[in-house]
Amino acid sequence: MENMINLTIDNRPVSVPKGTTVLDAAASVGIDIPALCHIDLKGTCVKNAPAACRVCVVEVEGRRNLAPSCATMVTEGMVVRTNSARVARARKTVAELILSDHPNDCLTCPKCNHCELQKLVTRFNIREMTYKGEQSNRKKEQTVAITRNMDKCILCRRCESVCNNVQTVGVLGAIRRGFDATIAPTFDKMFSESDCTYCGQCVAVCPTGALTERDYTDRLLDDICNPDKIVVAQPAPAVRVALGEEFGYEPGTIVTGKLAASLRALGFDYVFDTDFGADLTIMEEGAEILHRLKAFLGGDKSVKLPIMTSCCPAWVNFYEHNYPDLLDYPSSAKSPGQMFGAIAKSYWAQKMGIPREKLVVVSIMPCLAKKFECERDEFKVDGNPDVDYSISTRELARLIKRSNIDFRQLKDEDFDKPLGESSGAAAIFGATGGVMEAALRTVYEVYTGKTLPKIEFQEVRGLEGIKEATIDLAGFPLKVCVAHTLGNARYLMDKLRKGELDYHVVEVMACPGGCIDGAGQPYHHGDVEIIKARAAAIYREDEGKPIRKSHENPDIQKLYKEFLGEPMSERAHHLLHTHYFDKSTK
């Protein structure tokens, strides 16, 4: 083939397409060159290859110095050695240098056993600290969602690249120079003083323990063990397709039954499901879509279109910081988790006769921004939050292990009723395009009064950054758009600001791939196949559900009948809708 490049790596002939890196070329023939700063979630825009750490260096014949394989492109006739003595010595020395400016407190590090530096140290057979010297004394910070310990930072710049290139949030960047260089918000401010959206993608890609989630497991254990508290669990859709990875299951294994069983085993008094909240979200948001659409079709020029989804708390933070002039566009519907909390602490608590202050609602989320969302004042009643706090999938896994529960031995169990019943539409919330698809299933049927001929909307699925589709709503072409990553969201919002965004409904998720690659999920360590497997599992979960449309969830129907009345009723508005704030710093 014309565009194929032939080269030799470790005496083996390799043929790869032009534009391939030496690292990928080697991987194609089973040569696994160690790398550290490099990450490439192929098919998404998450990529970092600054050639900064110099761990992946290789010898290239005819070249004076060693070449970083992650950023060196193959050339015809290239002769590469990945394991010569020169390379091995250089690579080990570089790793030893990184260690020489690292706290090396692995035993108590939150990243222990998941740390990419730790893996390299084992792999390079480093048995002593060869180079001792001054260590960096950098910032430490605990925000509501993210914990920073920059002493553990190895300046791989992955966080900087996702924060700037992928999310365009622009909070993280290198400041100062040389040995004093560090990654921080502008002027070395704290995260909490910056425009950070808490999307946590920096945490998702951090190879070491420099950026981790804030841990709430001790607080949860205390609450569970407190006889005066009724503790309620609500795990998000994306958790059940990823949690298994922490217990040795193949990525994409659905562990919904074991998830419910483990939560019960942990001591939660009621094991409900955020999926219930997702169905409720579709009822409210769907009604809002129809409301705006009807106004628009009725000639109302003031109606704000496109309506944008508002489930993703990082996305909410993003537009509050950056688009205060466009706060009327996003749906006023709360996120599924917050809707769940509001219903649990009103409808259900009243039903059960549990006083609000005794009830602790804990969400288990693939997300770190949820930790921030829980703390929002508008989601509290007299200071008591609708959702008390949120733990990540990783925190749950740690807690299960700590509580002597053999996850693999657990028998599948069901969620409790009534807040544990959900449809397949709710299940797919966890993947990019899922909220849109779920909404379309309901909007179509409510608007047209007909049953959907085909329930799946393939055109809004998949990892493409921005997806578009036109849906035939009984002759009305409904134009929808699905974006994931905040960078893609910014692209759309900038167009909206210029009046150039020609859609009726837009879904935005901050994380690449949606919640399945949320910052609270088990670490993917740069393997995009894991994310794809989770997405496939989400859609399998949907297919396996007897009910696949939110408006057909019997417990949702009952909730409206008994308590809320109609979607967008006064009570629904009070409990299930919110408003947004101008948080711009300019």
């Binding site: 900064a52 060693l66 250089a90 570089v94 240098l97 990184i98 020489s100 290198a174």
Partner: protein
């Protein structure tokens, strides 16, 4: 007034050349000629160096004094005061040159002005005490070409420095300025490019990449917007040739950038200069404004369809921003740190557009290559290194300053003939070439003809042309440490080897100079140096171990002495010194004890005093207090 054709330019040149002719002729005069208004000389010129070095020694005040004195004497209309750029002989600055008798006054002070005016300008009698005194013969030398400092020099890049008024474009035009541009625009650009290639000119900024080839590559990438960037981010400690060229001959840089633009089909020029060069910035601003005024920058230059304009971009003075990718990022408003090449700037440079980056000295050579022909240039120098190189002589050398010599000149000629040898008759020990990225060369390298290849083979590099001479009093471990301190300070922090590795090397060197080093440290040092050289991302990191490697190679015994014997033979490493009082020489006057800030010296008056080594901070105060030479330092 716009110059709209090559002919118009030639017309201007002819007019301008008359004004300069008196200065041109003056250059030929020797000591026996002495002019003065009372001797019948109708018109005189006073050239007072306006380079940054001389300005720091009050040359601006000297200029002011000349102007007011001439006015007081009523002769301001007969005598011009001109402020050219650097003459190069900074050791003897401020320099004042008198035209037309070619008198070269050195170390002039503002208070000398009146005497020069009354005695020389008016009376025609030279002020002997201000003439350069040859250290060998002890005789006064009146003209620069008879000074050893200038005798072996060949000024191509510096051709106009110290001669023309850099703030007057007409003086540049008079010296064939913009002729190369006019000639080039009349030829196919490929022919011009071929001339640059044929000249053998190589980059003067460090790596010595062939300039013509660089232009040829940049030409190949087609885009509507392409950029010519002048790298004026001179950062080597002690190097100031680029600054001097911009201060003394800014138009040569502008002309060369335009020629480059013509050759590579670029219409935008950017000069990246550190803001800490205010004078150079000012001179460039003046030159750009004048070039625009004359239509030499802008649209339809010299009546052709070639358009070109130049903007200045300021750097904050980071050494790493001399690396072209870091420089471009800095210009884009990003963090000044390098990225991996390829892609080279020629393909994707300033905001992703094809960009050609050349250093100031490289560019300064371009116009003269084209006016005198590539063969002329190629005839100078060695086989692979053509033309001349400007060096900044510094350190323990008699004639500190800026010199330009043909490639192939030996270190010995530079240090002994031009530089006047080592200061205070001390023994030569080493010379660091190439700044912090270079290496230390020793006695055995003195007869090596200097060019890119030979310096690299000797374990150093050309770099931008810094040359720091060291004598027997210099400790080579400390020298390596000094340069490493610089690179540690200037590392951007992007890649591990440079960020952490250099820091660790510096820590080891510090340990060694403080007597805490081990023989194992030497092995670690060597391993780190080699790995950093092999793995660092950019030129800064890759070359940063050079001072360590070259001193280890040439002075390993000194390192070992520090480690094994705790001895610094140059007495530079304070921690390794032991102060003691010779009981025979000591008169017991107590001056040392009274002066000791650490109260480390005790004794009874009129009896020998003693130093308590535990308390001694090795400040040397006792040495300066003792009148009897009784303090020993080992």
């Amino acid at each position: 007034m716009k110059i709209t054709s090559a002919d118009a330019l030639e017309g201007i040149r002819r007019q301008a050349v008359n004004a300069l002719s008196v200065r041109e002729e003056s250059n030929l005069q020797t000591a026996d000629v002495s002019c003065g208004l009372e001797k019948g000389t109708p018109h005189m010129q006073i050239l007072c160096c306006g380079g940054t070095g001389c300005k720091a020694s009050e040359s601006a005040k000297i200029v002011e004094n000349f102007r007011s004195s001439l006015k007081e004497h009523g002769i301001a209309d007969k005598v011009d005061v001109i402020v050219p750029g650097c003459f190069g002989f900074c050791e003897k600055g401020p320099i004042v040159k008198i035209v037309p008798d070619n008198t070269f006054y050195t170390s002039v002070h503002p208070e000398d002005v009146e005497e020069i005016v009354t005695s020389h300008i008016i009376g025609g009698v030279k002020v002997n005490r201000l003439l350069y005194k040859d250290p060998g013969s002890g005789e006064h030398i009146s003209d620069s070409k008879h000074m050893n400092f200038y005798r072996k020099q060949m000024r191509i890049a510096l051709r106009n420095c110290g001669f023309i008024d850099p703030e007057n474009i007409l003086e540049y035009i008079a010296r064939d300025g913009y002729k190369a541009l006019a000639d080039s625009l009349a030829r196919p650009s490929l022919d011009v490019l071929a001339d640059i290639k044929a000249s053998g000119l190589r980059g003067r900024g460090g790596a010595g990449f062939p300039t013509g080839l660089k232009w040829e590559i940049a030409r190949k990438f087609d885009a509507p917007d392409k950029y010519v960037v002048c790298n004026a981010d001179e950062g080597d400690p002690g190097a100031f040739m680029d600054r001097s060229i911009m201060e003394g001959d800014p138009n040569s840089v502008i002309e060369a950038m335009m020629i480059c633009g013509y050759c590579i089909n670029a219409n935008h020029g950017l000069i990246y200069i550190r803001a800490e060069y205010p004078l150079a910035v000012h001179r460039l601003q003046v030159a750009i404004a004048q070039a625009r005024e004359y239509g030499l920058l802008g649209k339809n230059i010299l009546g052709t369809d070639f358009n070109f304009d130049i903007e200045i971009r300021y750097g904050a003075g980071a050494f790493v921003c001399g690396e072209e990718t870091a420089l471009i990022h800095s210009m884009e408003g990003k963090r000044g740190e390098p990225t991996l090449k390829p892609p080279f700037p020629a393909e994707a440079g300033y905001f992703g557009k094809p960009t050609n980056v050349n250093n100031v000295e490289t560019l300064a050579n371009v116009p003269v290559i084209l006016t005198k022909g590539p063969q002329w240039f190629a005839s100078i120098g060695t086989e692979k290194s053509k033309g001349t190189k400007v060096f900044a002589l510094a350190g323990k050398i008699n004639n500190v300053g800026l010199i330009e010599v043909p490639m192939g000149t030996t270190l010995r000629e530079i240090i002994y003939d031009i530089g006047g040898g080592v200061k205070n008759g001390k023994k030569f020990k080493a010379v660091q070439t190439g700044g912090p990225s270079g290496g230390c060369l020793t006695e055995k390298h003195l007869d090596t003809p200097i060019d890119y290849e030979n310096l690299a083979a000797a374990g150093s590099m050309m770099g931008s042309g810094g040359m720091i001479v060291m004598d027997e009093d210099d400790c080579m471990v400390s020298v390596a440490k000094f340069f490493l301190e610089f690179t540690v300070d200037e590392s951007c922090g992007k890649c591990t080897p440079c960020r952490i590795g250099n820091r660790r090397m510096l820590e080891i060197l510090t340990r060694i100079t403080e007597g805490r080093g081990t023989m194992e440290d030497l092995d670690k040092l060597e391993n780190l140096a080699k790995v950093i050289k092999d793995t660092a991302l950019c030129g800064l990191g890759q070359t940063s171990p050079n001072p360590v490697l070259s001193t280890l190679a040439n002075f390993r015994d000194e390192y070992e002495e520090h480690v094994r014997d705790h001895v610094c033979r140059a007495h530079k490493c304070k921690s390794l010194l032991t102060y003691s009082i010779d009981p025979v020489l000591c008169k017991g006057c107590s001056a040392c004890a009274r002066g000791c800030p650490a109260e480390a010296i005790v004794g009874e008056v009129r009896k020998p005093f003693v130093i308590n080594p535990e308390k001694c901070i090795r400040c040397g105060m006792c040495i300066s207090r003792c009148k009897f030479g009784a303090i020993n330092v080992i």
